[in-house]
Amino acid sequence: MTRWEQAWASDVLKAFTLDGAPGLNVAPGEVDYLGAFSRMRRGSTALAAFGLRIALWMVILAPLWLLGRIGTFSALAVRERTELLAHLLSHRSFVVRELALLLKLTAAMALLGTASVRARTQYDDTRAPVLLTHDARVHLKTVSELTRNSQPPERAAS
């Protein structure tokens, strides 16, 4: 991704939430949106990673093709950005909706993947264990782990 695209990714993912709106608020710099976007791309198929990039371009150029305005998404006022995203999420085209949803999923991964933000959602129930408590924990030894820098057992033994 180019530096332009990285900046766009942050702009777009941040815009799913509005500063100062009632409900969940996010402090500046609290969430690593770009990190989540990069990890999503890295972990996806080549086609899906390409789709994420296309989604980004689709949103960045949406003022032009959706609103008929000269300028990019980043040039819009903050509130307009959020409204535009909401519009894309309910667009009549399946492809547009799915690409916008992919970005929303990435934003949600970034937001809820941040422990301090997650703590403010009240999702976690104190009855649910956070730490490993089971007595019968299993650590399965694998050949790769045992022999990453040596020979597998059968050959080593021969």
Binding site: G43, T45, K104, D125
Partner: protein
């Protein structure tokens, strides 16, 4: 690049329900076994609570592999030691009688599915994995609402039977059980196999099956770097008695095709596509506590099963409508939401084949009848959600209001303008791409799960099931593999293996 070799009586590709069961049975019978798994070995304390790293580590391509029809459906598959059993909800269902009958009568699987033998396999697996109904104390608020709502509409449901010993209700099955309670293959059958001498090569991707004289004699593979997933070594794994493919109904046919097999390989792909409905309640639901899936309403005659499904907060957030202030108000009270899903026994049949540049192409389109059933199930879930007390329901269906506030609005979901592309779906159960059968013209493997085309090459996963089941497939996969692996272990060794 470094070259490594290994050898065993059996080389097994895949460590999920099929591969781990084969490894357990064959190693216990005194056979030497090597298991290849493309993903890493993750102990319970290495499983992340946050969804992004959890999926990156354990889910194949983060579920971004999708069918290639007009409206793609993402395919969820595990890629870690334990396979999909390490990311599923541990739901255990015996193969339904009507499916058994169909497979015996129409596919020639009388011997594989001999009723007494199958019963013995089911019982043994259930004992091994501690299968039991979800206890009341870990039912969780989400499942209780499905129970209450379905009962209010006169539908008969039940607590789900799961393979979890001492489940603490972490609601983290997808991310990986943090307590090791769920008896996925990495904490149950594979440790037993290892205790019998099996060796597991994690982070090892099978490339193709090797043949000599019309017989499978090994697998060429590559070892992957844990962080970059790039190849760091080549492996040649020699099989003295056989190669067993258990890479799932998507990647087993890919391996067969890359190894030069053809015929019916990849044909007959079937799935259980799922759709879901979210509801908001005025009081806390507590989706973050309880068994991830704890209550179900089987509606087999209608072609689907309803289930409670507690979503990780990341997926729940993405599933809630809108952006901006309204969305943020939802996010501040994620404890007030419930989600139910419908899993469909779709009639559609597709095909897995190699795509351009050696990639993957999964052709699959729901039939019009399937789409009607999806509409019906989502409308029913909406009514159940209201009957349980929801103040708003979010069906997630394009062309229908994002927020429904009255049960009568469920009718909107049945309208003629609601088409297939209005729904978001996901398919986690895949079948039929190397089907078993007595007739080589219509199947890929024999009733003993050995390929018709090549001796010593076996398919032991859901690829071999000729049809979808309408119920969660892990138990059926394990039972048929247990049966076939026992037959294999008892078979006379080829003369050359003694050399």
């Amino acid at each position: 690049m470094k070259q490594l070799d290994d050898a065993a009586d059996f080389i097994i590709v895949g460590s999920g329900a099929g591969g781990a069961t084969a490894a357990r049975v064959l190693s216990a019978a005194g056979c030497s076994v090597v298991v290849l798994e493309e993903g890493p070995a993750l102990s319970p304390d290495q499983r992340s609570r946050a969804l992004l790293p959890a999926m990156d580590e354990a889910v194949r391509d983060m579920a971004t592999i999708a069918t290639s029809g007009r409206t793609p459906i993402p395919l969820l598959m595990g890629r870690c030691v334990g396979g999909s059993t390490a990311v599923n909800s541990g739901i255990i269902w015996r193969m339904p009688e009507d499916v058994q009958e169909d497979l015996r009568v129409h596919h020639g699987l009388d011997e594989l599915l001999e009723p007494h033998a199958l019963e013995r396999c089911f019982e043994a697996i259930e004992a091994d994995l501690g299968v039991a109904e979800v206890r009341d104390e870990i039912m969780g608020g989400n499942a209780q609402l499905l129970r209450d709502g379905s009962q209010a509409l006169g539908l008969s449901g039940q607590p789900i039977r799961r393979n979890a010993r001492g489940c603490k209700g972490s609601a983290r099955c997808l991310q990986g059980c943090p307590t090791g309670a769920r008896q996925s293959m990495d904490v149950s059958y594979l440790p037993v196999a290892v205790s019998h001498g099996a060796r597991i090569h994690a982070l090892t991707r099978a490339k193709r099956v090797l043949f000599e004289g019309g017989r499978a004699v090994g697998v060429s593979a590559e070892q992957l770097d844990a962080s970059t997933k790039k190849p760091i070594a080549k492996l040649t794994l020699r099989a003295r008695r056989g190669v067993i493919l258990a890479a799932g109904a998507i990647f087993t046919p890919v391996l067969l095709l890359r190894s030069g097999l053809s015929g019916r390989v990849g044909h007959g792909f079937q799935a259980h596509p799922g759709s879901a409905v979210v509801g908001r309640f005025e009081r806390p639901v507590g989706m973050g506590y309880g068994a991830t899936q704890a209550y179900e309403v089987p509606l087999r005659a209608r072609g689907y099963k309803l289930e409670s499904l507690a979503l990780p907060p990341e997926l729940l957030a993405a599933r809630l409508p809108g952006a901006g202030a309204q969305w943020q108000s939802y996010l501040s009270r994620l404890d007030q939401f419930a989600q139910f899903c419908a899993v469909h026994r779709a009639q559609a049949r597709g095909r897995v084949r190699l795509g351009t540049f050696g990639g993957l192409d999964v052709r699959y389109e729901l039939t019009p009848a399937d789409v009607e059933r999806v509409k019906e199930s989502v409308a029913l879930l909406t009514r159940i959600m209201f009957a349980a007390g929801a103040v708003e329901v979010y069906p997630g269906v394009a062309g229908v209001p994002e927020r429904l506030t009255d049960p009568a609005q469920a009718e909107l979901l049945l309208g003629p303008n609601v088409r297939r592309d209005a729904f978001h779906m996901l398919a986690s159960h895949h079948f039929g791409t190397a089907a078993a059968g007595g007739d080589p013209r219509h199947s890929v493997v024999s009733p003993r799960l050995e390929t018709h085309a090549v001796r010593g090459l076996y398919v032991m996963d859901a690829s071999a099931l000729p049809t979808n089941l309408g119920v969660n497939p892990q138990h059926s996969i394990m039972a048929i593999v247990r049966r076939a692996a026992e037959q294999l272990a008892n078979a006379e060794r080829p003369a050359r293996s003694a050399a």
